[in-house]
Symmetry: D2
Subunit: 323 residues, 4 copies
Amino acid sequence: MRVALFGAGRMGQIHGANIAVHPGSTLAAVVDPHGPSATALAERHGAVVMDEAEAFASQDIDAVVVASATNLHADQAEQGAKAGKAVFCEKPVDLSMDRVAAVSETLAQTNVPFMLGFNRRFDPNFAAMKAQIDQGAIGDVEMVTILSRDPSPPPIDYIKVSGGIFRDMMIHDFDIARWLVGEDFPHLSAFGAVHVNAAIGAAGDQDTAMVSLRSTSGVLVSISNSRRATYGYDQRIEVHGSKGMVSAENVRESTMVLATAEGVRLEKPEHFFLERYAAAYKREWDAFVSAVSEGRAPMPGITEGLASLALADRAVASAKAHR
Amino acid sequence: MRVALFGAGRMGQIHGANIAVHPGSTLAAVVDPHGPSATALAERHGAVVMDEAEAFASQDIDAVVVASATNLHADQAEQGAKAGKAVFCEKPVDLSMDRVAAVSETLAQTNVPFMLGFNRRFDPNFAAMKAQIDQGAIGDVEMVTILSRDPSPPPIDYIKVSGGIFRDMMIHDFDIARWLVGEDFPHLSAFGAVHVNAAIGAAGDQDTAMVSLRSTSGVLVSISNSRRATYGYDQRIEVHGSKGMVSAENVRESTMVLATAEGVRLEKPEHFFLERYAAAYKREWDAFVSAVSEGRAPMPGITEGLASLALADRAVASAKAHR
Amino acid sequence: MRVALFGAGRMGQIHGANIAVHPGSTLAAVVDPHGPSATALAERHGAVVMDEAEAFASQDIDAVVVASATNLHADQAEQGAKAGKAVFCEKPVDLSMDRVAAVSETLAQTNVPFMLGFNRRFDPNFAAMKAQIDQGAIGDVEMVTILSRDPSPPPIDYIKVSGGIFRDMMIHDFDIARWLVGEDFPHLSAFGAVHVNAAIGAAGDQDTAMVSLRSTSGVLVSISNSRRATYGYDQRIEVHGSKGMVSAENVRESTMVLATAEGVRLEKPEHFFLERYAAAYKREWDAFVSAVSEGRAPMPGITEGLASLALADRAVASAKAHR
Amino acid sequence: MRVALFGAGRMGQIHGANIAVHPGSTLAAVVDPHGPSATALAERHGAVVMDEAEAFASQDIDAVVVASATNLHADQAEQGAKAGKAVFCEKPVDLSMDRVAAVSETLAQTNVPFMLGFNRRFDPNFAAMKAQIDQGAIGDVEMVTILSRDPSPPPIDYIKVSGGIFRDMMIHDFDIARWLVGEDFPHLSAFGAVHVNAAIGAAGDQDTAMVSLRSTSGVLVSISNSRRATYGYDQRIEVHGSKGMVSAENVRESTMVLATAEGVRLEKPEHFFLERYAAAYKREWDAFVSAVSEGRAPMPGITEGLASLALADRAVASAKAHR
């Protein structure tokens, strides 16, 4: 699979390295409006620089990876699909349900393989937890608790275009909830608050949020988010069922333990997503390559994006009503 | 302090032993309609058996401990107060807000010391967590997560008179939330489900429940309950703040660790409240004796009972509306 | 069982409370050359004060507990035995092999029940570990690692009469090694060092010590001791076998966990033996009462004391040879 | 740095991938008597296949990595040094002290950079532990406990040429002890046993071993090894000092925790050295490239190999004397 990568920023560099090192894929081209970034990334992995039109038109390109600025995702995904390329698209496809629905329509017509970058499904710890559930180790799933906290908030300029905490941050947790429960959530209740930075509130957003969900069959889910955790990137999930409980705990920076007169100190959780989810990004890319090469529909697809965005929109409305 | 203990059942036996062993109190009398139980407990600790009227009338009794059947709590607490005794009352005072308000009124008039048996505040692990918060170790409290699961449900006959999962079980967690946050909760959202035993649903109750709270200043609280956990009594709290997070984890049956080809096995959490909260009951009784002997109002008092019952009533209504 | 307690100091107070609260024993008398201590302890538990001769002569006394100064242990144990009392004796019986052998001879002649206070066998955590071994969970025992560190060294005056680190401190670990392996140790190698306090070295002792043992069948044991651990009383054992490994970890002061920018902090191990082994002392006393009342020989007995003292003597000689 | 890799087996493949991906090195050539292995590895990383003579003679080669069969290490290291190449050599250089001393002499004469593959110094967990020691977090080092167990023994044919458990397996732990303590060990005592496989004993070796060391200043070290651990690759170190203790614990396969009626199950330690030390091999290679490019002598060098082999030889003799 010869791949054109759209976006040479932080996420583009991660995907670029994973594409280059995977035995089933080659990084053929890099596309980025910022020339020097595109050149640097292309040279590092023996790829060429293309512009958008070239990449979509090239017979040498089998797949596109959309890791550009968020406002470009939907267009590039659609163009890739229309050009007959397999498409891997970073989240979110778009912040508007209508726009995502339109992309979904295009994908249905073009029938190309499409995968959405909900990377957490591929974290080895969460995957080990999911495997236990699938093997029946905890019986029927009854309650899910998802705790997700960033080490520090993004710049306020990012907050303003992010779609807000529910669409930008908690959307990952909505996807995890759907992945674990496998049902619709007819009931949702959301609360938000501003504790971290008053400017986030002034921008009409919250930095602390909590959502409860109730699925069709009565599975209860609690999700909580904060834009700040002094001790690192806090990413935990636990699932309680009829036969037991399974959880995935944080990954620490090392297994070092220091015992002194002050107490017993463990290392902090790995700092942020680049460190914590390094293995997840690799496994995610492998899942895309495997699905495409074996003719299976990649998962998660556009449907997962639509469903999680719908939950985020409902959370925005519920949190607003609760203020 | 010479104490008359009302109730010689499971809770009465715990309180009886703690009263007898405390250097500041003596178990003077045991009152229970079931004669043999009263006699056995009295003999074990060198006390005498009395009937209700005797105990209230006796000049030899300084305090009463109400650990009888739930439907007797309010009456015995009021009679004790009117007789001028210090009163320690097991939770709940009553399942009806009106009845608890009436007891509160009586207590205000009689002005006797009164303490309500919300034992978890006295668990050494929760207390260590609270001490860190009070010392400012995590800065301002922003989010609280309370997970509380019983090892197995009570008999269905108990369920029917219990007031339901929110008033009988989650009321402890409401008290903990109030203790940790120290504010009112103008916003509450509750979900319930029946997963453990269909008979609990048939009795109009739920066995699985989840509540979100938002305090006046925007502190968010998640509480979840299940009437069954195969791995033991699951009692955890974590509090996230502006400077860090503090939690109190389960207490395991021992520190034994077994590593074999099947994995690494830790012991289960201590089975149920008698084991897990043995130290809490002792510390609770010490707090009562200390407060009374030093002329301070014992905490938690009737106000805490009223406030938590009010939250439980709101949760019942919210969960009903969400079905 | 009516008990005369010899010694009203720290250990005497622990044993006194356990004797008093046990349903099968009564604290009848306290014997201590320091009158006020004897009186205070006796009054606390409703006992009388006796002198040595009275206690041994009294028909009202069934058993004696020897928790006096170390240099009195052997005499009091022998007198108790000659008076036909069941004897519970704190360790050590004596620091001299010859004297312990003489006591052993007396016990054999009098045939009274005798138990030696090697309390660690009764720690619930070590007992849970041992139960796994006995059930075959780790197969055949092959290697044992015992780590034992006191929070701080005793006064130098105590050191001088203690018999030294191997006879005073490591003797507990020798007993544990014998308990776990159940074989003789024909091979022993010891090293000592002075790191904590030069005065300990000046007194001819060491404060840091390490011993390796090889049993008849080739089970290897490592024991290490320090007289100081800044983080509390460190008491860990692990046993490796053909089918797995089992360990007993430290007991922490609480299950509180504090995560901040400095890292994730657990509580320290419980400070010292009074806290860590509180449950062990209770279970030890129960084992004595049960054995005597059921006509079984209490374990550990004088044989265990002799065998562990022999290992300590060999360690002293080996460490000396290695300097 | 253009590298010729000697050996295309398991270790060669690990080093080959790390050389190829490092920005400061290129895998230029692969040398292996087994042609297909050499070709496959060379093709994977865009290198060419050479024979020994070509590689040493080539002006295009700056460094050699010796990851061939153990009996070739010394010769290839010497030839590389004489050809003026920087040399990275897998452990052991040789099983004979005389042969290692001869290599050391050659290295002194040729003055090329030389590094020995004691990979554990580069494990991020051990490195985090060492950093705490170097920063003074535990004060002066007083006692070290090293526990090292393989998941299963190597084939008996390997055992026969391995030099035995002390020279083949415990040599890593001797290096760690020297790295942590930084002193000579005038005192050593070793015990061995055969528990895992009688054929290992028949071959004159042991499969279970325990060594105590005492350094010049009195630091005490305990090392224990087993050729088999049912629960995975057990690699732990703890260091006790005047101000505290620091340890590095096992790395688990994931952070998943499963709680059921059977207990609470953690994942096993990562299975064996390929998984556990994957990061260590990368960091080790980076250390070599950095040292060579910056003109520093790589560490650990031949001196470390000599010193650890000397300890192993003494352990062999001590264990023999103790049988």
